[in-house]
């Protein structure tokens, strides 16, 4: 069983933390990742910094800029993944990337390097299912899960098409917009989780806008198997650029507080999935 599948069988719901590789610097970024894992992030989403992150809001965009200014290259990101893998042998690691990074490197080389570094999944934020034929074959060849995205605007027919090629878990975008903290999650969230749940046995994780313990609680209550927190953590890095100790304290405190919204629920859902996955 892959690390991702194993995690969701072991734990429900799970807490997924997002960080931009190389933010605020390459070495500092390794320390951030270790702190996140040690503080209770069950899965790490590691973004490859990119010059034009159109799906991201201002907080995460600034993290991309910081990482690029620090000189972070794709090579550095794979090296970072390798070191995080050494620190956290069981924690699933998912690379979050914009497609041109893969296109430029070549999909074959990209997925080979991702697998060699110890990544478990790749999520390509700007590659809709219509364009993803080439990467699908390389992801499969190197045993990398291809994390699919479903948005509130995705039609039921598209949901089917997207889910047919998905593996690992499914990333549900909670709202119509870019990443970033919000006061409230949209009321239609439970409906989205329910609708997708009917179409797949893959675990469902909800991201975009999730930034408070009550959000985490409502995502879990909606029946999701995981929550993804990005901007709320990335913001803490930005607020403590000159205070390394304070940055790590703040990240630990935030992850613990957000995690408190997760009430473990070893319910029938998990049993069902264990049966499915044999």
């Amino acid at each position: 069983m892959s690390r991702i599948a194993g995690l969701f069988v072991r734990k429900n719901p799970v807490f997924i933390g997002f960080t931009v590789a190389g933010d605020p610097g390459i070495e500092a970024s390794l320390r951030v990742a270790k702190t996140m894992v040690d503080a209770g992030a069950d899965l790490l989403e590691i973004a490859i910094p990119y010059s034009d992150p159109v799906a991201d809001g201002p907080v995460i965009e600034r993290a991309h800029v910081r990482a690029l200014r620090a000189g972070t290259t794709a090579d550095d990101v794979f090296a970072l993944v390798r070191r995080i893998r050494e620190h956290a042998p069981a924690t699933p690691l998912v690379l979050f990337t914009y497609y041109n990074i893969i296109h430029r490197r070549g999909a074959d080389r990209f997925f080979a390097e991702a697998a060699a570094a110890g990544a478990d999944g790749v999520l390509i934020v700007d590659l809709p299912v219509e364009e993803s034929g080439e990467v699908a074959s390389y992801a499969a060849r190197y045993g990398i899960d291809r994390i699919a995205l479903i948005a509130p605007t995705t039609s039921p027919e598209r949901q089917h098409t997207i889910l047919s090629g998905a593996s690992g878990f499914v990333y549900l975008i909670s709202l119509e917009g870019v990443t970033g903290e919000r006061d409230h999650l949209p009321p239609g969230l439970a409906g989205l989780v329910g609708a997708v749940r009917e179409k797949t046995d893959l675990p469902l994780a909800v991201g975009f806008g999730v930034s408070r313990p009550e959000h985490v609680r409502s995502v879990a209550a909606a029946g999701a198997n995981g929550v993804i927190v990005g901007s709320a953590l990335v913001r803490l890095i930005e607020e403590h650029l000159d205070d390394g100790a304070g940055m790590h304290d703040a990240l630990r405190a935030a992850i613990r507080m957000l995690r408190s919204g997760l009430v473990p629920d070893p319910g029938p859902d998990i049993l069902r999935r264990e049966r499915v996955e044999g």
């Binding site: 034009d52 809001g57 690029l68 041109n100 700007d126 364009e131 995705t154 598209r158």
Partner: protein, 390 residues
């Protein structure tokens, strides 16, 4: 060829949230382009409101100096001062047909922003224009014009604070407000169906030019020249000549010279990559990060280009050349003095290439330059480059 593809180029590389809007846009576009009511209303706006058709001016003085027959397609005389209004009127009307209540746009030089503000005012749709902070300073006059026309200008302080970041900001707004908002993209770039929609709305330039030159000269031109940033005025004038025996030349921003690395010539000096929704030529580093670009013309200061141009480059149907800032500034002055026409700095790149190309043309050869915009917006900038202030 697959729908939405130009050879291998084009496609839809966007976040999943945007896919529904692109699908809706494509369906609407297929519907309205067959709708006689849409054609009738667009034609009214283009003729009665915007001032089409624009003249094809024979330039006697320039022809004498260059030794060939030079014509200018006068998009500078279109309402708003540039070709951009062809597209904004078309898309704003389409937004109306889609039931959208709000327009957003990006702008570099400010010309597309002004054209969107005009179309929004004419069609009674509120407009917000994203503009890189650097460009708001370079083009302060156009910022004021947009505000005067009732649009809200949003300065974009992220990234390089120029056109590409304004496009990123507009895409972010669109993702968040899809249901009531139409993103009125200003060039033949971005995800399908934008490159095609923009090309079709701009093709009126080439259709008129082709008819006008046949009436005037009784034959097709030898060469048609247009500047290329995103490439909308170029594709608009080239497209109707696609199957003719006419040399087509797209002129990119050579900035301080291709070897300097400070330019905006993605076709001449870039490589294939995905950027802002489409596969095309791109100025990028080894990791695929978009590079900073430079041009004296804000509207050409962009790291990528429309996917159809990428295909036309590979097939050889269009030749792409780059001229430097210095050559463009020389052409800016020269055309002003010899013909009494002040070109936009973007269009001055096409004029500059014409000056270079004329050496190889005979006295009876016909050269058409698409004068895509007028240069009033650039006058203060050019003065300051020479140490003066206005």
């Amino acid at each position: 060829m697959k729908a939405g593809r130009y050879g291998i180029y084009g496609g839809q590389y966007v976040p999943e949230t945007l896919m529904s809007a692109l699908i809706e846009l494509e369906e609407t576009y297929e519907r309205v382009r067959e709708d006689p009511e849409f054609s009738r209303r667009l034609s009214w706006y283009l003729c009665e409101y915007a001032g089409r058709e624009t003249p094809l001016t024979y330039c006697g003085n320039l022809s004498r100096d260059l030794g060939c027959r030079v014509y200018l397609k006068r998009e500078d005389l279109l309402h708003g001062g540039a070709h951009k209004l062809n597209n904004t009127l078309g898309q704003a009307l389409m937004a109306k047909f889609m039931g959208k209540h709000r327009l957003i746009a990006e702008t570099g030089a400010g010309q597309h922003g002004v054209a969107t503000a005009i179309a929004g005012a004419a069609l009674d749709l509120p407009v917000e224009v994203y503009m890189g902070e650097v460009d708001t300073r370079r083009q302060a006059l156009n910022v004021f014009r947009m505000e005067l026309l009732g649009a809200r200008v949003v300065p974009v302080a992220s990234g390089t604070r120029t056109l590409k970041d304004a496009i990123n900001a507009a895409m972010r707004d669109w993702v968040a407000n899809l249901r009531e908002t139409h993103y009125l993209l200003g060039s033949c770039v971005g995800p399908h169906p934008f490159p095609r929609v923009v090309r079709d709305f701009q093709s009126v330039i080439g259709e008129e030019t082709r008819r006008q030159i046949l009436e005037r000269e009784g034959r097709l031109p030898d060469t048609v020249v247009a500047c290329v940033g995103g490439g909308s005025n170029a594709i608009g004038i080239f497209y109707p000549f696609s199957n003719d025996d006419v040399t087509l030349v797209g002129v990119e921003a050579g900035g301080e010279g291709l070897e300097s690395g400070r330019h905006g010539a993605s076709l001449s000096a870039g490589s294939v990559g995905v950027f802002q929704g489409a596969l095309s030529y791109l100025l990028q580093d080894d990791d695929g990060q978009a590079l900073e670009t430079h041009s004296v013309a804000a509207g050409l200061d962009h790291p990528s280009v429309g996917p159809e141009h990428a295909m036309l480059k590979d097939s050889g149907r269009v030749r792409y050349e780059a001229v430097t800032d210095a050559e463009a500034l020389h052409a800016f002055r020269l055309l002003s003095r010899t013909e009494g026409i002040i070109p936009a700095l973007e269009s001055a790149h096409a004029v500059a290439y014409a000056l270079r190309a004329a050496d190889d043309l005979d006295r009876d050869d016909i050269l058409i330059v698409n004068l895509s915009g007028r240069g009033d917006k650039d006058v203060a900038d050019v003065a300051s480059l020479h140490g003066g202030a206005i």
